[in-house]
């Protein structure tokens, strides 16, 4: 038998059929659903007189639109309310499990899947959301789909796909204290660009990836999509298996043992061939801050805003000029001189318990700086929030001057009331710094949780390695 990459193993295990031109039907094990990209799919299903193929594969949760304050009073915005109610109704009608808005297990779909053990190694996982790549951290083939495909999976339990290419990103060496998974993935995107992974499934390998916790691996895979790849993967190891033991949806007893035995095969064979390998040296990585309107526009904390005139490619140069004009930054400016007026700690990239701990460690005993208009902490799920409160993290944040909110996507994409005003500048732990992403005219700098916390207490981007020093 020839050697296979992890991606190829997962692909082969889910292949229902394949045409000569390579078009394949791939079976889907887990379908996660939220309120924004599902209503039109359910409607389409109904209009065609079809029913879901396998409701027990589905887990639904409202997250994008939910308010993060006073939630017991319901949703004030009638348009958002209708969307959440539509999800609730569709789930009741079709017998789909949903964690309702006020369920303690509610949270961002990509946080709760793993937290519940609903994401398991060897699965195919889909969701009508591009950051589904997060779940690849478990050695699962996970990718975001559009609404037509949500409907397709509902109706057939399959997707029509073509096999992707294999890209290996190998990060070896030990990260310096203060340098986190977020910095690793931002550095990767800075290196290969936002289209660097197009048409590929990325497997993240190397000792630095093995050393990361599951939460760190999720942060890295979460942003595989920002590098243009639909899927990111990390091989299964002891860390993966330990994380999953005794989660509500994890298999139990004899099934657990059988599952673990099978999961232990979920790694690329030693002589498997990747179409391309990109290497990074973890020991050289520094905390990262994006300065532009695309995640690839990123610099190290001790760097400066780059000069478009030095860019040889004319289209890129124009893109940089547009970005700097939008961000209101000057070439040559030190990154540490950039002063955000908002801080957002949240999103499916960085709102898990370890993220909140890292931020709290920086904030402890300090105050949010005078120039910061608003500093938000939005836990990724109700269970993360409860855990943080049990550890007293909420007190640390609140004492420092942060707002402690209820879980949801919140200011990651500003579909609810949490948003930037035009011209506001935000240090954000989310994953996209596109124009208007956090509110029309808002300016976003992507950073790690510790870096966001450091910016909050110092009033400008600061080198966390010194802050912790």
């Amino acid at each position: 038998m020839s050697s296979k990459t992890l991606y190829d193993k997962l692909w082969d295990a889910h292949l229902v059929r394949q045409d000569e031109d390579g078009t394949a039907l791939i079976y889907i094990d887990r379908h996660l659903i939220h309120e924004v990209t599902s209503p039109q799919a359910f409607e389409g299903l109904r209009i065609a007189g079809r029913t879901p193929w396998r409701t027990d594969s589905i887990l639904a949760v409202p997250d994008h639109n939910v308010p993060t304050t006073n939630r017991s009073e319901g949703i004030a915005d009638p348009v958002s309310r209708l969307q959440v109610e539509t999800l609730d109704r569709n789930c009741v009608d079709l017998g789909i499990t949903e964690f309702l808005m006020n369920d303690p297990r509610q949270g961002i779909v990509h946080v709760i899947g793993p937290e519940q053990g609903a994401t398991l190694p060897g699965m195919t996982v889909v969701c009508g959301d591009s950051h589904t790549s997060t779940h690849g951290a478990f050695g699962a083939l996970a990718f975001g789909i559009g609404t037509s495909d949500v409907e397709h999976v509902l109706a057939t339990q399959c997707l029509i796909m073509k096999q992707a290419q294999n890209l290996e990103i190998r990060v070896d060496g030990q990260l310096a204290p203060g340098v986190s998974a977020k910095d690793v993935v931002l550095a990767i995107i800075g290196k290969i660009g936002t289209a660097g992974g197009t048409g590929c499934s990325i497997e993240f390998t190397g000792t630095a990836m093995q050393d990361l916790s599951m939460e760190g691996r999720m942060t890295v895979c979460n942003m595989a999509i920002e590098a243009g790849a639909r899927a990111g993967l990390v091989a299964v190891d002891e860390t993966t298996i330990k994380y999953l033991a005794n989660r509500p949806y994890s298999p139990k007893g004899e099934l657990w043992d059988r599952a673990v035995a099978s999961w232990q095969q979920l790694h690329s064979d030693p002589d498997a061939v990747f179409e391309r390998t990109v290497r990074l040296d973890a020991t050289r990585l520094k905390p990262q801050v994006t300065w532009g309107t695309s995640p690839e526009m990123v610099a190290a904390i001790d760097g400066v805003v780059p000069d478009p005139d030095a860019e040889p490619d004319s289209v890129k140069r124009e893109g940089m000029r547009n970005a700097l004009a939008y961000m209101d930054l000057q070439p040559g400016m030190a990154i540490t001189d950039i002063r955000p007026d908002h801080v957002f700690i949240g999103s499916c990239t960085n709102a898990r318990i370890e993220d909140l701990r890292a931020a709290a460690t920086t904030v402890r005993g300090r105050k949010v700086a005078a120039g910061i208009k608003q500093a938000l902490v939005v836990p990724g799920s109700g269970l993360v929030k409860a855990q943080a409160e049990a550890e007293g993290l909420d007190k640390i944040f609140i004492t420092a001057g942060f707002e402690w909110r209820q879980p949801g996507c919140s200011m990651c994409l500003a579909m609810n009331a949490d948003r930037l005003e035009p011209g506001d500048r935000c240090a954000s732990t989310s994953n996209r710094n596109f124009e208007g992403r956090q509110g029309p005219g808002g300016r976003t700098h992507l950073v790690s949780p510790a870096m966001a916390a450091a910016a909050a207490v110092t009033g400008h981007f600061s080198d966390i390695r010194k802050e912790q020093g």
Binding site: D21, E43, V79, S130, T132, Q157, K162, T194
Partner: protein
């Protein structure tokens, strides 16, 4: 789904790379539970002076005169000419629905983000790929000639210029077949229902925890 065979239309040049789905349709419009009505808010932030909200009368909003969709010479355009990595960012199919609702039938670019590319076919919008040089040549031609029209012939896989010059493009056989015939791919997949069931039966034995 609407069939796509040949289409002739005015070309609108959008000279930016990495146009993301947040720019194509900002999130405040994603609260809709329907697939239509997104046309007036396509490229909302670039098109209007102030940010809009769902439910507004968009025809009354102040526009940015110099944005390509607002220029008189591109009115009624139905082919969008774009740069590399068009449609990057989120999975929102609303981006495709907005292009479609505006009246765009084909996009021409050197490359697309995967999910956007996939979503387009499912809605009868043809995302066709030409080389960077060809796209560059088309940008020059569009800007030099008012009312510049192209013909997209899916059957022949060709883009034809007003001078009769042709550019060939590749398209995957399955997607082409679905587009030419306006076919719903769910129906096609369900023709293989027996194979899906067979697969499930086999998997229930191999990996029963996936069905617990």
């Amino acid at each position: 789904m609407e069939k796509f065979n040949t289409h002739k239309g005015v070309v609108m040049p959008l000279d930016r790379h990495n146009v993301d789905t947040d720019a194509i349709i900002p999130k405040q419009y994603l609260k809709s539970i329907s697939k239509t009505g997104f046309g007036p808010t396509l490229f909302d932030d670039w098109r209007y002076v102030k940010a809009g909200e769902p439910g507004m009368d968009h025809s009354k909003r102040e526009i940015k005169e110099d944005f390509v969709l607002n220029q008189p010479r591109y009115q009624g355009g139905s082919i969008l000419l774009a740069r590399e990595n068009f449609g990057c960012g989120s999975s929102r199919e609303h981006a495709v629905w907005a292009l479609d609702d505006y009246g765009i039938r084909a996009v021409i670019a050197p490359s697309y983000a995967d999910i956007f590319f996939n979503n387009s076919f499912k809605n009868g919008l043809l995302p066709l790929v030409l080389s960077e040089d060809d796209v560059d040549a088309l940008f020059k031609a569009v800007e030099a000639n008012e009312g510049y029209e192209l013909t997209v012939d899916l059957e022949k896989q060709q883009v034809v210029t007003p001078d009769g010059e042709t550019y060939s493009f590749d398209v995957d056989e399955f997607s082409k077949y679905c587009l030419l015939n306006g076919l719903d791919d769910i129906g096609l997949t369900l023709q293989h229902a027996d194979e899906i069931k067979e697969y499930e039966d086999k998997r229930k034995i191999e990996a029963p925890w996936l069905f617990a």
